[in-house]
Symmetry: C2
Subunit: 244 residues, 2 copies
Amino acid sequence: VGIVSNARQATRAAVIAEITAEARRQLAAQGAAALSLRAVARSLGMASSAIYRYVASRDELLTILIVEAYEALGAHVEAAAAAAAAAEAPAVQQWHAVCHAVRAWALQHPQEYGLLFGAPVPGYHAPETTVAPASRVTRVLAGVLLTAYQSGQLKPARPVPVSPAVTADARHLAKQMGITDLSDSLVRALACGLVTWAQLFGQINFEVFGRYEGLVQDTEALFEHAVTLIAVLLGFDPPTAPAS
Amino acid sequence: VGIVSNARQATRAAVIAEITAEARRQLAAQGAAALSLRAVARSLGMASSAIYRYVASRDELLTILIVEAYEALGAHVEAAAAAAAAAEAPAVQQWHAVCHAVRAWALQHPQEYGLLFGAPVPGYHAPETTVAPASRVTRVLAGVLLTAYQSGQLKPARPVPVSPAVTADARHLAKQMGITDLSDSLVRALACGLVTWAQLFGQINFEVFGRYEGLVQDTEALFEHAVTLIAVLLGFDPPTAPAS
DNA sequence: TGTACATCAGTGAACGCGCGTTCACTGATGTAC
DNA sequence: TGTACATCAGTGAACGCGCGTTCACTGATGTAC
């Protein structure tokens, strides 16, 4: 409880940081399945048993990596959103900015992205600790759309009817987000948002997981097109001039 | 080369079938990463070395499983398309039918689906053998849209401008598919198709990989909504009556 | 039909590897008087 | 400031496990005369 024990805690935190950094390196190099505590210890020049002073188990290390990845992605996308907002860009451009930010991070960290958005690691079940960090990106995406909606720049273009079951889920979701306005148009917007959320990550999945390989050369241009199409679906005004 | 050697070949084929069946069972139970030749041999009551009379390596077994999964999914979706076509359903309904068929198969075989559409297995690179089976589903999806397009039931609703890079890729793709009509509207349709292709699987990914867990109760209803939205994006007439 | 030979399925032991995790132990670092 | 004690980082050996793959070998099954 003394002053110096803070020093101990500091070095302790530093070692944990080294461990997670090395683990992240191995994750990036060989994927989550190949991640091993022994290999991390070896790279750090310490006995394999020493790791257990800092990390309870392999699963806990995986959880740490997942949380860190969510936070990194969240911070990256938040920064992009903040920059676009600071430049007072129109809402559509803000939407494009955050989408491209997600994609850029995913392409730079394919294995971490796969850990977050690929098939779940078998035998591992994510604890509740990961829920909050995971919602960070989602919050940014929803925030951009919500302010666009509130500023009138986003209006449901084609009122596609929503089934009762989807309406119920949308209402439930609105309550969770603390939204009191439960108008039909907002329900539609939420349902549309849920779908476009999956569409955005579907687009990135195809690119990161190599499903466009050999079919599409300029995947960035296609992504830009996809984001534009999704924007139209969301209710942004469609572009008229040819895209760059 | 004799008659009876066919009998040998037949029993040989039967054993291979048993091996792949058991491998598929283990894949379904514990995922691709946990698949092991020894475990398969154990379950079949044979020595671990005996497997090598039938399968060259673990990677080859994985390849076989991938090809089989692609074929199974392809056959499933083809059957759904054929049934919808035989019933002379309107093109939108055929589109819905094939989408729901993909989803149904994915939910019934989540691990196999993950093997095909999740993050690639690290250290494994799919040989060219998998390309043809993989294109089977895609061909069905493209076929449904193409006939809808040709019968006039599908017309690009909002002509969203397509960038030169995407146009080039679309043209290239059209040539690969043996399509000679390279009109602007077809280029737009192809670009849109590429995007909706990823969107469809993105939607299924979110459901199979559990990303909607705790957020959406009725995932089937949401999927139905997603397919409808994608249909609108593709250029089908939007539904007017409330969805079921 | 019977016999000598070739083919092939299947065995069991072994090689060499890596893994997660535990445990008794050694030193160093900090704490309290 | 100095000393006795407690805390904690880090070690090395070990347990028990499973894996992919190879290899010399045994029998059974088919083949050719």
